[in-house]
Structures are given as C-alpha cells and as structure tokens.
Amino acid sequence: MNGGAGSGFSPVLRAVERRLALPLPKRVRFLRELEFDLQELAGRLVADGVPAEEARRQAVEVLVPDHGTVEELDSLHATFYRRLTRPLNPGRLRLVERGTLAVLTAGILIGETFTLLQADLLSDPSPFLWPVLLGGGVLLAMAGAKAFQLWVKGNHSRLWAGLNPILVTAGGILALGLAGALWELFHLAGALEAAPERAGVLVPGWLARQSVLLSVALILSLAGGLAWFVLSQCVAFLSSARRELLEPDAAPSLKKEE
C-alpha cells in the first residue's frame, strides 16, 4: 500500500494532521482520503494546462479543511467520552480524571490487601511486601490510565508517553521483591548463626514470608509487563499506519518520538 510516497502533499498532510484531534485510526483514514483527492484535483488542473505549483496551491485551497471544518471533523469523530465531557471545563475535567485515578490506585491497593487477607497470607508479612503492593497499585493504575487515554479518550497526541515508566515500574517491583528476599536471607543467616537451635522456627517463617513476597512481586511484575506489551503493540500499530502515510522515507522502527 503506497501512502504518501511520491505524492508531494506530505507536508500539507502533516500540517493538517497537527490541527486534527481525531483518534489516530480515523485521522489516518481521513488524511489518506484527502491525499487521494488532492492528487486527483492537482492532476486534473495540470492536465488542463495549469502549472504544477499553481495546481497544487489551488487543490490545497479547495480541499484542505479550514479551522471551522477541522473543528467540525473533530466534533463528528469525537469518542463517546469526549462528547460526554465536552460541557466540562478542561481544567476541571483534568482534576476529575486525576482524582478518579487516585481513587482507582487506592482501590487497587485495598483490593490487593484484601486478596492477601482472604488467603491468610498477611499473618507474618515481610516488611518489603508493603512497598511491593504500593508499587503494584501504582503500576496497575499507570497501565489503566494509559489504556483509558488510548481507548476511551481517544487521545493519540503523545502515543509513546507513559509506556516506559510502566515497564520500569514492573521491573522495579520485581527487583524490590528480590532485594527484600535477599535482605531477609542475610538477616536470617545472622539469626541462625546467633541461635542455631531456633532454625526449626526461623527457617519456615522466612520461607513463608519470602514465598508470599516473591509471588506477589512476580505476579505484579508480570501483569505490568503484559500490560506494557499489549499497550506497546497497540501504539506501534496505531503509529505505523500514520508513519506510512506521512513519513514514507522514515526508517521503520518500533518507537517513534512524536
């Protein structure tokens, strides 16, 4: 599929794209439609004897949307969430969204704790379990916020933003769990050296605590990694169609800074 290569209208399409707030798939489809029509009109004018540059200028004047038309297109293709929240002041909306995110994070934390309580895994928790749970809450909230931005708000202006922190946090949670287990192993070794007769009590206790800590850290880290993978694939898919149309000479890569 040949998008923008050789069309000569790539700069025009990029300028139009900067003014549009449509979700990316619809944005790309519209630009592709516009590109064809621009080429057709310019071609027809050239066939009628109009110089090529003038033909391009006339085609742009006839077909490229002005400010009012862009607003109309944005309104027409807005997601359900955008239509619902249109009456709200943008500052207030941002406040509501952040407040909801904070509540979501707190809810995740409560949910995690409740789940562990139900399974009777908090009778003797590792001190590292709490920061791991906190990190897990933050991680899942970050992934949820990114998914919300992509699929509910349809805001595709900064596609890759927020993805790397998800991966880094997932890795950090795993690292924290491992570090906690090692730290407690070190202290267990010290305790056994001081009182070897207590091995029968200390070792099972250590094993129970670390198995909970490492299991929770591993599960949360894997969940974060999976979320990162799914979101990255979605973003790569969205941006590849755009890149093919608007930057046909760009080297293909998974990540594109926007």
Binding site: M1, F30, E33, E35, F36, L41, P65, L76
Partner: protein, 117 residues
C-alpha cells in the same frame, strides 16, 4: 397551522447534504468527484471549499445514508461513497420538504404589496 421554528442553519446543512446524496444517485464516487459534480450540475451555484465537503460526507456515512469503502486505484487508496437505500428514502423525503419551504418563501415574496402593521 403551527410550525416549529424554521432553522436557517439546519436548512443550509440539509441543502448541502441533499446535493451530495443526489449526485450519488448516478453511482459511487470519491470525495473530490462529488464536489466536482455538484458544482457542474448546479452550473457553479453550489461549490464546496476549504474541505467543507468532508464533514458532510462523514456525517452522512455515520447516519448510514451513504456507504464509504476503500478501493485501490493505481497503487493508491481512494475512498468511494455510494448511496444506501436509507439515503435514497431520505433524499426523497427531504426534497419534498425543501420544495415546500421554497414554495412558501416564494408565496411570501410574491405577495402583492400588503400593508404591515
């Protein structure tokens, strides 16, 4: 007879939509061709500029009055629109309404000099 208030902007939008629907009666076309045909069939009276045709097409497509599909054209992709059955019915119904509005307008304009209070 009581009438709901006549909305001039809605009427203007209706006219644009009806022009697009009527030109699709002769077959599927892409956006620029639709604009060209409307201009040619109206002898230049109706013209779409600054991309104003696109929101009209997209709105009609969303309302299922026209159907958009992608076709290959010499290595390029073009979006072609065709009239749906619902679009044909809509066109017939609204054309009658436009006729009614124009008739009433002409009736008012051609009133022999009535004194107004």
């Amino acid at each position: 007879m009581t009438e709901t208030e006549f909305d001039v902007q809605a009427f203007a939008r209706d006219i644009n939509e009806l022009l697009v629907l009527s030109t699709l009666r002769s077959g599927a076309k892409h956006g620029y061709q639709i604009g060209l045909d409307v201009e040619s069939e109206s002898n230049g009276l109706f013209r779409f500029r600054h991309g104003t045709l696109y929101p009209i097409l997209h709105r009609l497509e969303e309302e299922k009055l026209i159907r958009g599909s992608w076709k290959k054209d010499g290595g390029r992709q073009k979006k072609v629109y065709s009239l749906t059955r619902a679009g044909e019915r809509h066109l017939e119904g609204r054309t009658s309404r436009v006729q009614e509005i124009v008739d009433r307008l002409l009736t008012v304009l051609r009133q022999p000099g009535e004194a107004r209070a």
